[in-house]
């Protein structure tokens, strides 16, 4: 389980630019659970993912991954191994000349040397890309294809908790379907999946559990149906179907 306990995070702490990005959030994410996180840009969603994966450490409160405090330096490798994050801009996380090397990198980095070829091929197929992509340059793929490669390069080392930052942005319906299948498979495999998204259709059609952030605070956590019934809270948190209110 990933446990946030009164966790707060400030960017540029003790400088004139100090910004509170997360405010006393308490939250538990269990293995096998699938959670959508929504909220305005700057509401703290991405900070939440980065705290959960140990990329950021809470300024106040604590974050634990399977009872290991993310601030514990000795636990850092295990936490990194147990958590994975797929960032919003896939090209930002690429640095290899081929898709194969890109996906294989994490395995090598974690010292996993068995069956690298097989694992890379399998995971590529899992995200809906065929093996002809292996030798292609990830920087020359379309935005949607890059996203699928980014997902593959994260799930390849089988982390227990995976955080997706806008995984369907820029994907066509087929790609979205593939992402949903990947999430379902991961959850069925007893992994915790957290998806930060603005995609209303995705949340409506696919998720059950929803967390909503506003100004760094967790303002809703529960059944998405309950949230979508609360028009006042939807309005306050800026969550609505953007093209249905065009004047």
């Amino acid at each position: 389980m990933i446990k946030f306990e009164n966790s707060s995070y400030y960017y540029s702490r003790k400088t004139p630019f100090e910004t509170k990005a997360l405010s006393a959030v308490s939250l538990e994410i269990r293995k096998g659970e699938v959670l959508a996180v929504m909220g305005r840009t700057g509401s703290g969603k991405s900070t939440l993912s980065q705290l959960a994966t140990g990329l950021l450490l809470p300024t106040e409160g604590s974050v634990e991954v399977d009872a290991m405090n993310t601030g514990n330096k000795k636990a850092r490798f295990d936490i990194t191994r147990k958590t994975g994050i797929v960032f919003q801009y896939p090209e930002a996380q690429f640095f290899s000349p081929t898709v194969y090397e890109e996906i294989a990198f994490a395995l090598k980095n974690f010292g996993i040397t068995d069956d690298i070829q097989r694992r890379v091929r399998e995971v590529l197929t899992d995200v809906g890309l065929d093996v002809t992509y292996l030798e292609r340059n990830p920087f020359k793929l379309s935005g949607g294809e890059q996203r699928l490669v980014a997902i593959a390069s994260t799930i390849v080392w089988n982390p227990d908790y995976i955080f997706f930052d806008e995984p369907t942005a820029g994907l066509d319906a087929k790609g979205k379907k593939r992402v949903k299948q990947v999430i379902t498979t991961l959850a069925g495999d007893n992994r915790g999946v957290v998806v930060v998204t603005h995609d209303m259709t995705l949340v409506r059609d696919f998720f059950e559990k929803l967390a909503v952030m506003s100004d760094g605070e967790l303002v809703f956590y529960g059944d998405k149906k309950e949230f979508f019934r609360d028009e006042k809270l939807m309005k306050e948190t800026g969550i609505f179907d953007p093209f249905r209110y065009i004047s």
């Binding site: 909220g39 305005r40 840009t41 700057g42 919003q88 801009y89 292609r136 340059n137 020359k140 793929l141 379309s142 935005g143 949607g144 294809e145 806008e166 942005a169 820029g170 994907l171 066509d172 319906a173 087929k174 790609g175 979205k176 379907k177 603005h198 209303m200 259709t201 800026g238 969550i239 609505f240 179907d241 953007p242 093209f243 249905r244 209110y245 065009i246 004047s247």
Partner: protein, 241 residues
């Protein structure tokens, strides 16, 4: 348009005419050739066979490239890839400085454009401290300040939160009211439903082209297209008015 990597064509046999003042939504699956088509209009990419003309100017004619680009504004999916200056005003006037506009004109246009996109008062702000929606407003301002006749948009909304999506889309609709041409790539059929024409590209070819009422119902069978019931209802209402 050939692709050396895939050893095939990215785009094949495209024949298309977009009239001034039209709003065309380019839809299709990932890797179908939509972005390539957009880059060819702006002469970033040249066709390997056939030709593209913009206001009668051939995009293959190197002598015309600058003139073509003066008529076109281009906005990409990720605003951060397009912002280059350390203040909002510097970013907006960058294109005008390059083209040698006078200080007076730059000042007037900067003010007008920032007002148009709703960023007045942000002149001295660091673009990197803006929200996603504000950054996209800025890239649109930087494109519009040169008063282009055509605005090319490559999924300008997909990274934004709902408020950002609504606001930027309203901005795009406001811009095209002045008889300006808008060509926008989108996966969102709810946005595409507002266009004059939908161009559906599949495997590098134009599969369907026509009004949303005509095209959208026929797209529901393709697995790369997601079409909500709201879209169908919207089209029905649009048709009855």
């Amino acid at each position: 348009m050939d692709d050396a990597n895939r050893q095939g064509n990215i785009l094949s046999n495209i024949s298309l005419e977009i009239k001034q003042g039209e709003f065309v939504a380019l839809v299709g699956g990932n890797g179908s050739g939509k972005s390539t088509l957009l880059k060819m209009i702006n002469s970033i990419l040249k066709p390997d066979s056939g030709e593209i003309t913009v206001f009668g100017m051939n995009t293959k004619d190197e002598a015309m490239v600058l003139e073509i680009r003066k008529k076109i504004g281009f906005v990409f999916q990720n605003p951060e890839n397009q912002i280059i200056a350390s203040t909002v005003e510097e970013d907006v006037v960058f294109g005008m400085e390059n083209l040698g506009f006078s200080r007076e004109i730059m000042k007037t246009r900067l003010k007008e454009t920032l007002t148009f996109v709703g960023l007045q008062g942000y002149e001295k702000k660091n673009p990197m401290n803006l929200s996603g929606g504000q950054k996209q407003r800025l890239t649109i301002a930087s494109a519009l300040v040169l008063d282009p006749e055509i605005l090319l948009l490559d999924e300008p909304l997909s990274m934004l939160d709902p408020e950002g999506q609504r606001d930027i889309f309203q901005l795009i609709l406001k811009y095209r009211r002045n008889n300006k041409t808008v060509i926008m790539i989108t996966h969102d059929m709810e946005a595409a439903a507002y266009s004059d024409k939908i161009c559906f590209i599949r495997r590098g070819r134009i599969e369907k082209y026509g009004s949303p009422q005509m095209v959208i119902p026929s797209l529901r069978k393709y697995d790369e297209i997601e079409c909500s019931d709201w879209v169908m209802e919207h089209l029905k209402n649009k048709g009855s008015h």
